[in-house]
Point group: C2
Chain length 349, copies 2
């Protein structure tokens, strides 16, 4: 703060030079239509000449409203910025808000515990007007505090059992069902599911990957074995670990439904390490269908996660809340099962 600044022109400077009142200058920026054409063009000229730009801080202070929204994610930044799925969500949020002149502050707390404090810090210190949250354990506390105090928030997923508003979730039930059914129809006798951690959103019952998986199995009178429902954490390494565990213990399991792309690639890597053969020994379906992974080998069928759209919807939701709505009905998007048969050309070694 020791940096000395060139004084920038203020409203008053412009007003003085243009020979009008400060309020008139303010109007030129905010309610241009209430100003006479001539006056306006004269003011605009001076604005140009003095290189005047309104001070957003001062305006926000007075208006008691800043056009800034926070995007707060839990876990360390290494988790977030490396997760293309989250980045797609952020991109959706960013695009919608940018279109309306809002700005986005991105914050990934340094430690997981800080996530909650961080969100409230941003809000209460008025650094942001509302927040978009990625659900994680402890989010229930934030949500109830926000609700209680009337602070605008929206969650990218259902934050806790019983949350009825302000969420944008993606339902994988149907696509997960179709994926499992595809496996079974293709002749696989056992299908494993590598899904998210059970307590992930503090909401164990709401795993739609699991729900669709169970539906497909029970439809065919098959039992759901707890040994074949594995908990990963969306990362490559957890996919590797869980695939290996299942495949080494149960050779006969030949189909793996993974709840994220990185987990699918971890499973593929485990396959290679175990010297297994693609399709014959194991077939894998990926859980995100991200733009990049859709392009590389092997071409995986996937449960395509509409994360960009999810972000956009969350952006729209927070804006509606900022503009006066007390609460918004939850939105549920559907993931789509994308079958990629044939694994067209592939690299030979």
């Amino acid at each position: 703060m020791k940096r000395e600044k060139k004084k920038m022109a203020t409203l008053y400077d412009v007003a003085k030079v243009a020979g009008v009142s400060p309020k008139t200058v303010s109007r030129v920026f905010n309610e241009s239509h209430l100003v006479a054409k001539e006056t306006r063009s004269r003011v605009l000229e001076v604005i140009q000449k003095l290189d005047y730009h309104p001070n957003a801080l001062a305006a926000s202070l007075k208006k008691r409203f800043s056009q800034v929204v926070g995007f707060v994610v839990p876990y360390g930044s290494d988790f977030v910025f490396r997760d293309l799925n989250m980045m797609e969500q952020l991109r959706g949020v960013h695009d919608v808000l940018a279109e309306e002149g809002y700005n986005v502050v991105v914050s990934a707390p340094l430690s997981k515990k800080d996530a909650l404090h961080e969100a409230m810090r941003l809000l209460k210190r008025r650094l942001v007007e509302g927040i978009i949250l990625y659900p994680s354990s402890g989010i229930g506390g934030i949500i109830s505090e926000c609700t209680h105090k009337g602070l605008p928030y929206a969650t990218l997923g259902v934050g806790f059992a019983g949350q009825e508003h302000n969420f944008v979730e993606v339902d994988m039930t149907e696509s997960s069902y179709l994926a499992t059914k595809y496996f079974l129809d293709a002749g696989h006798r056992y299908v494993a599911l590598i899904t998210r951690p059970r307590g992930f959103f503090n909401y164990p019952e709401n795993d739609s990957y699991l729900r669709g998986y169970e539906m497909a199995l029970s439809e065919l009178g098959k039992e759901v074995s707890s040994e074949l429902v594995r908990e990963g954490d969306f990362t490559f390494d957890s996919g590797y670990r869980e695939f290996r565990y299942v495949k080494q213990k149960y050779r006969e399991v030949t189909a793996f439904l993974c709840a994220s792309d990185p987990m699918a690639y971890g499973a593929l890597r485990a396959m290679a390490d175990l010297k297994l053969q693609w399709i014959k020994d194991a077939e894998i379906i990926a859980g995100d269908g991200l733009p990049f992974t859709q392009k590389i080998f092997p071409f995986l069928s996937s449960i395509a996660n509409p994360s960009y759209e999810q972000g956009r919807q969350a952006g729209k939701m927070i804006m509606a809340l900022l503009e006066g709505k007390r609460e918004m009905p939850g939105v549920t998007l559907k993931a789509e099962f994308v079958l990629r048969k044939g694994y067209p050309a592939r690299l030979s070694f």
Copy 2:
């Protein structure tokens, strides 16, 4: 803005209840050591009771300093948020700034032309105190304006020919040299380079991939063929396109150095489509060495780009500038050539 807010406690509320002056409360937050212990603890109690949080907007307005930094990237958000390399940079910036209590506003203009305006808008409207810029065409204008007006900025790379300060760049010369030399030593007679667009930073001469490549070739008395130096744009598709062009025209070219990971995967994909065989028909070195791509097959040797560290350095640089330094000497990091021989286990089809 129609949303009515619960009034939050202000400094005055706290002062009144605690029976001290507003300034004393302010001191408790900012210069705690100048307040008598008893006074402080009494004030802290009231702060707790009233759930008081200082209004950052008001403080910034008065202090003429906000702890917010902008991260501005050119091109659409689809380019940025999907580029893991840029995300690593952002992550580095975020981490350093978060550690010091700064916040980061991320902005990817909706259209490429807006990038420059966007950066200046954030700065001049005092939404951010300084900006970190990703170089792109037109950046020269921003930089000279910032320099002229004393606005703090740092660039992730050299912004234009002659920029002597405030940049954090990565030099690939040595690693690119080593990569090319590896190819030649391994018996490849012709090496192609798929590099960034020539005018990318408005700075055609400063392509360090190219420089290293040329060094290795000329050391062995080989000529640099303009047909084998291709311009990509870092994307998968451009890698695909340029590989295909070269390989179809010049069968004898069997080594490809790509300036980004996505381009390398695009090239791999082209290999598959052309039914070529890995190593025998073509070997590829990737240009980023991102955490994710390092894990998938085939294991590619790479020119490992220290993008996270680059982001951290840029974060430190902008903070130094905010704290009073007029300009900072440019920083040059070195990429490292990582040889991944043997391509250990791999997936069989």
